[in-house]
């Protein structure tokens, strides 16, 4: 029975992807993409990956969707009027279809070869200390480099966007009073939830990225309501906060070398405090970066002359 439901969910996902890539109206495509992301989050839950589900719902569906729709608003033209969006692009249609089919078939063959493959005896390396959530343990214990570098990737994305020029300005439209009222109630709760996710991440589903996504969503809501977002609005504060995640992570990682360990090899005694310090800095930095990215693609910035 569960297999039938899972199959229906999988088919729904493929149908939604087909629709969002075909529909002529790009605004509709953006909304369908958010729905698609939320459905993917349900799939992660079915696959027993709640950490990935949270990240997908907040980052994959929420932030990507917000960035896309904000870009669409920023282009300032009705999405339908931007010319035909049919087949084309200079490649023969049959060649592209064949290429996509061959690659899909190769992936199906790869998937089929995986069924019945022997499993690993113990899935996770034993997590020491206070970290009992296996995914956080893998991320910060076993693959710290990974998290450090992806914090750096987001920072570099912001540097790239900043290099394209233009300072973001406040959106000119007056916000609806209903939105402002809602935001005033919702944002403090969201900040609380973000803190809880960060703390909870050590032992259960959650962590710096999920927490950052909730904080960023609060920042974007403030932005849409025309309210100030103090950590992002300060021209001096923003770049420092954005760099702080990578800097603190790297600083702690190098400091433990002075104590005689390897890079990013935290001593057992102080592991809990060090990891919490890093996760807090990373969460705040990523939230600031995401809101700054939202500002950069939006309608607030007009072409400079």
């Amino acid at each position: 029975m569960a297999l039938v439901l899972d199959t229906v969910l999988a088919l729904l996902l493929v149908a939604l992807a087909w629709r969002l890539l075909q529909v002529a109206d790009l605004f509709q495509a953006g909304v369908l993409f958010i729905v698609f992301g939320l459905l993917v989050a349900v799939v992660w839950l079915r696959l027993a990956a709640p950490d990935v589900a949270l990240a997908e719902a907040a980052l994959g569906a929420g932030v990507t969707g917000a960035l896309f729709l904000n870009t669409l608003a920023g282009t300032g033209e009705h999405p339908r009027e931007a010319g035909p969006d049919g087949a084309g692009g200079g490649w023969p249609a049959w060649l592209v279809a064949t290429l996509a089919l061959v690659l899909t078939a190769a992936l199906v063959a790869l998937v089929a070869a995986q069924t019945g493959a022997p499993g690993l005896p113990s899935p996770a390396p034993a997590a020491g200390g206070k970290l009992t959530n296996p995914v956080t343990a893998v991320l910060l214990d076993f693959r710290s480099y990974d998290t450090l570098l992806e914090t750096a990737v987001l920072w570099i994305a912001l540097l790239g966007v900043a290099a394209l020029g233009g300072a973001p300005v406040a959106p000119p439209e007056p916000p609806s009073p209903v939105l402002v009222g809602l935001v005033r109630v919702a944002v403090p709760v969201m900040i609380l939830v973000a803190g809880w996710l960060l703390w909870q991440g050590a032992t259960d589903t959650g962590g710096a990225f999920q927490s950052a996504a909730v904080l960023a969503a609060a920042g974007i809501l403030l932005r849409l309501a025309g309210l100030p977002v103090p950590p992002v609005d300060g021209a001096r504060l923003r770049p420092r906060l954005a760099a702080a995640g990578t800097a603190v992570f790297l600083g702690v990682g190098v400091a433990v070398m002075a104590a005689g360990g390897n890079l990013l090899a935290y001593p057992e005694a102080a592991k809990g405090a060090l990891v919490l310090t890093i996760e807090t800095a990373v969460a705040v930095a990523i939230a600031v970066i995401l809101v700054a990215l939202f500002d950069a693609v939006g309608p607030g910035r007009r072409p400079s002359r």
């Binding site: 999988a10 696959l47 896309f68 870009t71 282009t75 969006d85 996509a100 992936l107 899935p123």
Partner: protein, 97 residues
């Protein structure tokens, strides 16, 4: 991979194909950004489905990889969207294209 994860792995393969196809044939850049995201989601689905190697709890290493992947996808999407905005404003300045 266990049988329960199979439908999602196959859907992942289909999403990759759909995304790749749209990336190549659709001329509008905003659509290409969506197409890359759909194709990436397909890859993530295959990875997480493959984490179910046996009946026990899933392997957390692919989960951590996919978390990283989602963050990198958001970064790349943001940069792509900013580049599209910049290209458009450059086109406006140059009298349109």
């Amino acid at each position: 991979m266990t049988l329960a994860a199979l439908p999602f792995a196959l859907a992942g393969a289909a999403l990759f194909g759909l995304g790749l196809h749209a990336l190549l044939v659709r001329p509008r850049m905003l659509r290409k950004v969506l197409a890359v995201n759909v194709a990436g989601t397909g890859v993530f689905l295959i990875l997480v489905a493959a984490a179910h190697r046996s009946a026990g709890p899933p392997d957390p290493v692919p989960h951590a990889l996919v978390l990283t992947g989602i963050v990198v996808a958001v970064s790349a999407t943001a940069l792509a969207l900013a580049l599209i905005r910049r290209l458009q404003s450059a086109g406006d300045d140059g009298g349109g294209d």
